[in-house]
C-alpha cells in the first residue's frame, strides 16, 4: 500500500498504451518537437526509430522541390453500402479528411527524383489506417496510367492496415485492380519500385506492394499478410518479437533491401539511373549524372554507360 512501490517506468504507459505522445519515440522515449522531427525526416536521433511519415511529407523527402504534381486529387470515397458500424462511414471519412487534409489514403502524382521523372503513389497511414478503398485503388491506377503514358517508372510508398472494410467487396476488388495496373507496367517494360513503410499489411501487401521489380523496406517496418495479433488469436501459435519485421523479411528472402530513410532518396536515384536506358542521354534540364549518385558508384562506369559501352550487371 506504500506509494513508493509505484513503478515510474510503467507510469509513462507501455507501447500502445495510448498515453504516448506521437512525437515520443516508443523505443527510447526521446521526445521531439514536431519541427525537429520533421527536419530529421521523422527518424529518432537517439535510437534510429522510424516514425510514421504522412504522404505529403514523404513526397517532400523524396521528390525534387517544386516538381510534384498531384493526379486524381479530386476523387473522394462514396459510400456504396451506406455502411454504419459504431459510426457512419461518411463521418469517418470526414473526420479523416479534416485530420489529415487528404482526400483519401493515397496521394498519386508525378515528379522528379534527382532529375529523373517518376510517377508516384504514396500512402498515408493516418487516413483511416491507410486502408485501401475504391479511391485509393483508382488513384494508384492513375499513377500507373501516367507512368505508361510517359514511359517512366512508378514508385510506390505504402503504409496500410489492409483493405477498407466499409467498402467490403469493392475494397477487395482493388487488389485485382491494382495488380492489373502493375501488369500494365510489366507489359510496357516499365520498372516499378515498391517501398514498404511501417506497417504494410493485409490487402495492400498481398497485392501491388509485393509486386515491385524492386522491393525495399524501411527498418523495423511490420510487413505481413496477417498481423501478429491475428496470428496469435487464430492459430494459438507463439509469435516471435521480430515476426513480420523488415529485417526478418529480408532474411527470409521477401525483400531486396532494408534502407534507412535518410538513404532512401539516394538509393532511388541510383535505381532510376540503373533502369534508364544507357543510350538515353540526360536532357539539358536534368542535372549531370556525376552529381546524381554522390560518390556511390564508379564514375568510369557512368562515362562508359553514356557512350553505350556500360558493363552489364546482373
Amino acid at each position: 500500500m506504500t506509494p513508493v512501490e509505484v513503478n515510474v517506468e510503467r507510469q509513462g504507459g507501455e507501447e500502445g498504451g495510448g498515453r504516448r505522445h506521437p512525437n515520443t519515440c516508443p523505443e527510447c522515449r526521446s521526445h521531439y518537437r514536431d519541427d525537429e522531427l520533421r527536419h530529421a525526416q521523422r527518424v529518432c536521433a537517439q535510437c534510429g526509430h522510424h516514425f510514421v511519415v504522412g504522404a505529403m511529407e514523404r513526397i517532400d523527402q523524396l521528390v525534387d522541390p517544386g516538381t510534384f504534381v498531384e493526379i486524381g486529387g479530386d476523387l473522394r470515397a462514396a459510400d456504396p453500402l451506406a455502411f454504419v458500424d459504431l459510426k457512419p462511414y461518411t463521418d469517418r471519412l470526414m473526420d479523416a479528411e479534416l485530420q489529415t487534409g487528404l482526400g483519401d489514403s493515397l496521394v498519386a502524382g508525378y515528379g522528379r527524383i534527382v532529375g529523373r521523372d517518376a510517377a508516384l503513389a504514396v500512402m498515408d497511414f493516418s487516413f483511416m489506417g491507410g486502408s485501401m478503398g475504391s479511391v485509393m485503388g483508382e488513384r494508384f491506377c492513375l499513377a500507373a496510367d501516367h507512368a505508361v503514358a510517359y514511359g517512366i517508372p512508378l514508385i510506390s510508398v505504402t503504409g496500410s492496415g489492409g483493405a477498407r472494410m466499409q467498402e467490403n467487396i469493392l475494397a477487395l476488388m482493388q487488389m485485382a485492380k491494382t495488380v492489373g495496373a502493375v501488369d500494365s507496367l510489366r507489359e510496357e517494360g516499365l520498372p516499378y519500385i515498391s517501398i514498404l513503410a511501417h506497417p504494410t499489411t493485409g490487402g495492400v501487401i498481398a497485392s501491388f506492394a509485393s509486386l515491385g521489380d524492386i522491393v525495399i523496406a524501411e527498418p523495423g517496418a511490420l510487413l505481413s499478410f496477417a498481423g501478429p495479433r491475428v496470428v496469435e488469436q487464430t492459430t494459438g501459435e507463439k509469435v516471435a518479437a521480430d515476426f513480420g519485421r523488415a529485417e526478418s523479411n529480408l532474411r527470409l528472402g521477401q525483400l531486396d533491401a532494408v534502407v534507412p530513410r535518410r538513404e532512401l532518396r539516394g538509393e532511388l536515384a541510383k535505381l532510376l539511373t540503373l533502369f534508364s536506358p544507357t543510350e538515353d542521354e540526360p536532357t539539358g534540364d536534368r542535372e549531370p549524372l556525376m552529381t546524381i549518385v554522390e560518390g556511390d558508384a564508379n564514375p568510369i562506369d557512368k562515362v562508359l554507360g553514356r557512350l553505350g559501352l556500360g558493363r552489364r550487371r546482373g
Binding site: P80, G103, E138, N168, M175, V179, V182, I205, S210, S224
Partner: protein
C-alpha cells in the same frame, strides 16, 4: 397484426394524428424490413458455411471426366487446401483450380479447413502457367475462409504469393471462369478468382473479411458478426449490384447441400455458358480485357477542387 390496425387508423382523417400514425407505421415497417434483410443475409452466411455444402471435389466429379490431379508446387510441398487438376469438360481439356475443405476432422486438419499456405498458391500459379502454355481454359472454384494466417505461412511469403497468383490470373491469355461456391474469404479467395467471368452461387458469400473479423475490429466484439454481415452485405445479390460478379448461379431449394446433383447441373449450365462468353474475347485482347474489367470496379465521387495545394 398491430401494424395493419395502425394503418387503418391512419386512413381516418384525424388531423395531426394521422401524420404521426403513418410515420410510426413507416418507421416500424422499415425496421421490420431491415430485420428481415438482416436475417436473410445471416442465412446466406450460414448456408455458405454449412458443413454439408458441396465442395470443389463434389462438383469436379459431377462436371468433369478423366480428371487428373496436379499435385505439389515443385518447391516445397503439396498444399491440400487448394487442389488443381487437368480434366475434360464438355469435350475439351480444362485446368480446374479450387479450394477444398474437408468432410471429417482428419480430412479437415489435413486440408487446413480450406485455408491455403503459400505452397497452395504456388501450385495454383503452376497450374495457370500450364493452362496458358497449352491454351486450356481455366475453371476455378472459390471456397475458403481465407488464406492461412500462421507464422510459417507468413515466413514463406503468404502476401507475396497471393499477389503473384492474382498477377498470374491477370496475365493468362486463356479464358478463365471463376465461381464462388461457398465462402469467398478475402485475399485468399481473390487469389484464384480474378477471372474473365466471375459467378457466385445464390447462397455463397464473398467479402473482404469474415463477419466475425469485421465485428471484432469495428464493433470491438466478434459476437456482433450478424450486425457486421448486415452492414457489409457479403451476399451474391449485393455483389451483382456492385458490379463485382457477372452472374448468380441458382441453387436447389434449401441450398446446394439439399440436392448436390441438381446444384451441379445449375453450376454446369452457368459455367458452360460463361466459358462460351469468355471464349468470344480474342486471345490477344484477353489480358487487357480482363484488366479493364477489374479497372472499372469501385465507386467514388469527384469534388470540384483538390483540397491539397501545399506544393
Amino acid at each position: 397484426m398491430r401494424i395493419r390496425s395502425t394503418r387503418c387508423l391512419g386512413a381516418w382523417d384525424w388531423g395531426d394524428d394521422v401524420v404521426r400514425v403513418s410515420d410510426e407505421v413507416r418507421r416500424l415497417r422499415k425496421r421490420f424490413e431491415a430485420r428481415a434483410e438482416e436475417s436473410h443475409i445471416w442465412d446466406a452466411v450460414q448456408l455458405a458455411r454449412n458443413p454439408d455444402r458441396p465442395y470443389t471435389l463434389d462438383y469436379a466429379e459431377r462436371l468433369f471426366t478423366d480428371a487428373f490431379e496436379l499435385r505439389g508446387d515443385r518447391a516445397f510441398s503439396d498444399d491440400e487446401a487448394l487442389i488443381t487438376m487437368l480434366a475434360r469438360y464438355h469435350g475439351q481439356t480444362v485446368v480446374a483450380i479450387g479450394h477444398q475443405k474437408g468432410r471429417d476432422l482428419s480430412e479437415r486438419t489435413r486440408r487446413m479447413f480450406g485455408m491455403p499456405h503459400p505452397e497452395g498458391y504456388r501450385k495454383a500459379i503452376r497450374a495457370v502457367e500450364l493452362a496458358d502454355r497449352f491454351g486450356y481454359p481455366i475453371i476455378t472454384f472459390v471456397d475458403t475462409p481465407g488464406a492461412y494466417p500462421g507464422v510459417n505461412a507468413e515466413e514463406r511469403g503468404q502476401a507475396g504469393m497471393i499477389a503473384r497468383s492474382i498477377l498470374a490470373f491477370c496475365q493468362a491469355s486463356v479464358p478463365i471462369v471463376s465461381t464462388v461456391i461457398g465462402e469467398g474469404g478475402s485475399g485468399g479467395a481473390l487469389a484464384i478468382a480474378a477471372g474473365d467471368r466471375v459467378l457466385m452461387q445464390q447462397n455463397s458469400i464473398y467479402s473482404v473479411i469474415s463477419p466475425e473479423g469485421c465485428a471484432a475490429i469495428l464493433w470491438k466484439d466478434s459476437g456482433q458478426a450478424r450486425k457486421a454481415a448486415y452492414a457489409f452485405r457479403p451476399t451474391a445479390n449485393a455483389c451483382l449490384d456492385l458490379g463485382v460478379i457477372d452472374r448468380i448461379v441458382e441453387e436447389p431449394k434449401g441450398g446446394a447441400h439439399e440436392d448436390v446433383d441438381a446444384a451441379a447441373k445449375f453450376l454446369d449450365d452457368a459455367i458452360r455458358q460463361s466459358l462460351q462468353q469468355a471464349e468470344m474475347i480474342p486471345a490477344a485482347e484477353r489480358r487487357r480485357a480482363r484488366r479493364a474489367k477489374f479497372r472499372q470496379m469501385g465507386v467514388w465521387g469527384v469534388v470540384d477542387e483538390p483540397t491539397i495545394q501545399d506544393f
